[in-house]
Symmetry: C2
Subunit: 414 residues, 2 copies
Amino acid sequence: MKAEVIAVGTELLLGHIPNTNAQWISEVLAETGVDVMFHTTVGDNLGRLSVTVGSALQRCDAVIITGGLGPTHDDLTREAIAEATGRELVSDPALEEWLQALFESRGRRMAPANLRQAMLPVGAESIPNGLGTAPGISLEIDGRWIFAVPGVPAEMKPMITDFVAPRLASMAGGAVLVSRTLKAAGIGESDLAQRIAPTIESLERGGSATIALLASAGEVRVRITAKAQTREAALESIAPVEEDVRSRLGSLIFGADEEKLEGVIAAMATQRQITISVAESFTGGLVASRLVSIPGASSFFRGGYIAYSPEMKEGILGVAPELVAKGVVSGEVAVAMAEGARERTGTTVALATTGEAGPVPASASIGTVFIALAHEGGSVVRSFIAPGHRDMIRRWGAQAALNMLRLWLLGEIT
Amino acid sequence: MKAEVIAVGTELLLGHIPNTNAQWISEVLAETGVDVMFHTTVGDNLGRLSVTVGSALQRCDAVIITGGLGPTHDDLTREAIAEATGRELVSDPALEEWLQALFESRGRRMAPANLRQAMLPVGAESIPNGLGTAPGISLEIDGRWIFAVPGVPAEMKPMITDFVAPRLASMAGGAVLVSRTLKAAGIGESDLAQRIAPTIESLERGGSATIALLASAGEVRVRITAKAQTREAALESIAPVEEDVRSRLGSLIFGADEEKLEGVIAAMATQRQITISVAESFTGGLVASRLVSIPGASSFFRGGYIAYSPEMKEGILGVAPELVAKGVVSGEVAVAMAEGARERTGTTVALATTGEAGPVPASASIGTVFIALAHEGGSVVRSFIAPGHRDMIRRWGAQAALNMLRLWLLGEIT
């Protein structure tokens, strides 16, 4: 089944916003077994929009339109569908009633313009909108389908997942594309590729799944994708590949799909009643902020120090002046910061970071990072050179510090 | 002059990546006076790609294609242009030589496949690529133009700004669209709209510029856009509107275009040799991290405390136990945190945050935020209810704290 996604809005053509709706809808359709052949973006212009809808109907089995369903004179998707299909627009009494009730429940008076949103092309069905005043449109034309949903992502997404995707899935009846993403930390992209080279090569010789690698600051994602008749069958193709990749990467993998490093740490720390504090220099709050981002962080995270200046490292963390004098980007300073934070906060474990993020090197070459972890039995320190500019070096440092904590929680660092 | 932007790549249709190239190119073209009428995305398929190029040539004066110029068999933009225009592909000796030299200078042997990148449709000119091995293509067909550039943003962007945009500008010879964005903090979108309502109304009655408002956590942007024959003339239309908006909003506006709140603070603090520290609870490092993100932060930022747990507020910041016992989300606690941080760090000023980010309300209703600032002469505190979920409440709190510091630096809060 072939589909075209049409995004409506002059602001997209002016480059004011990216077309993330088309991306999101395409991801959902791929999982539904629909092949998206084209994305088209068109402005708020009736002529161009109806021509676009018409040509999409000629080359695809399903046309998904997002945007242009609001109550203003700029919202022309209803009219364009009517024009492209030769169907008249008529007011739907049930929709009129629903709109009226919606405004009443919000204590607002309905403007006459809103009645436009009760209009449907003859033969069309409305798609319920649980969050806004713009109902969607579902219309069959000679075995081909048009689905129109609003452009507001919060309204559009449930309408696609609850209404459009299930209909398309039952029509498609074909193959679905399913992906599973494993996330690794503490290893670079090329080293990881080398470790799983046998897996990749055997899949290339003929396998039911493919592998793609994606790298960001301190994280490499391994995406395994399979195509099959059903979601279950695709997952069955993915499972042995995932097992193989996991056996080759071991604890380098910290999670899958939507899991985050800080979430994995939160789960382990909460379960084992371990408390955490931080002492951050160049990361300047990034480590703490990621831990605090987890709902329920107060069960494991206590707080800590941002010791950005050398005076703070000495004054509030008790790093020895002779260490600071030798340069604040060192393993000794990182360890002293972690130990100072642990002593002062009384937590099970403390994480520290010190590094040179640039743009002007002060006491070490740009990208130099030291991370340390202090626990009851002692402390550990690691060092590496992070690539990129200030922002990336800082994100890389925070990621490495969190990964060090994860490995300590796993008992792999002692 | 009308243009269509075609993005080539199956990964776009699968939703793996957003089409940020089309957005970026559209922004540049708008400033160049070109009206972008359509964005089209098509996969790595010769038939569909050549049909797409052909229909774009029929409906627009300029077609900008991004992607599909690499050396592999999946890269089909050259062939599609040749097919759509009926021009033969021939190897360009100068490009062959350039490619050969490029590989030699990198100490690599050129694969035969790379010679495909020296092919051009008859009559085409190559667009220099300063960063990669894929030259672009510029071709005139009966007064209409095709420009093809790679999909890698780092290579594509200079090729558009240095080659494509100047050519289009001289051909367009028409109006250019220029925007200027003023950024405000400490006011909501609807209050801001009310304050500048006279400006908006007078522009709607007929003016040479338009205004659009865009809101995010704790920030409202006022975008003023003007169309004119030249960039200079557009800026002349914008200037009086900007002046009018600024006079109505005063110090609510903290910057323009790419300026950030933390950057504005950094400039003021550095110039006046003011030092800053923080004591963060629910923002958990967000305030510090934004200040540290500014290159040269060490000249004004010293560090501070993340006092997430009540014990930390008492133990490391010296907040009185009786205050903590009454609940940590209060103005008194915020002030005590700021004063504690200022005393311990010896900075000119200290900022503190305490609030309830949810998801479960502990000591105040979700969204309650207190921010405080301690200085030599005393301290100030503000409170508000932030909307949204945990992440947005935290970002809103950090933004408000930084804005409080900015207003103090301006002498508007004492």
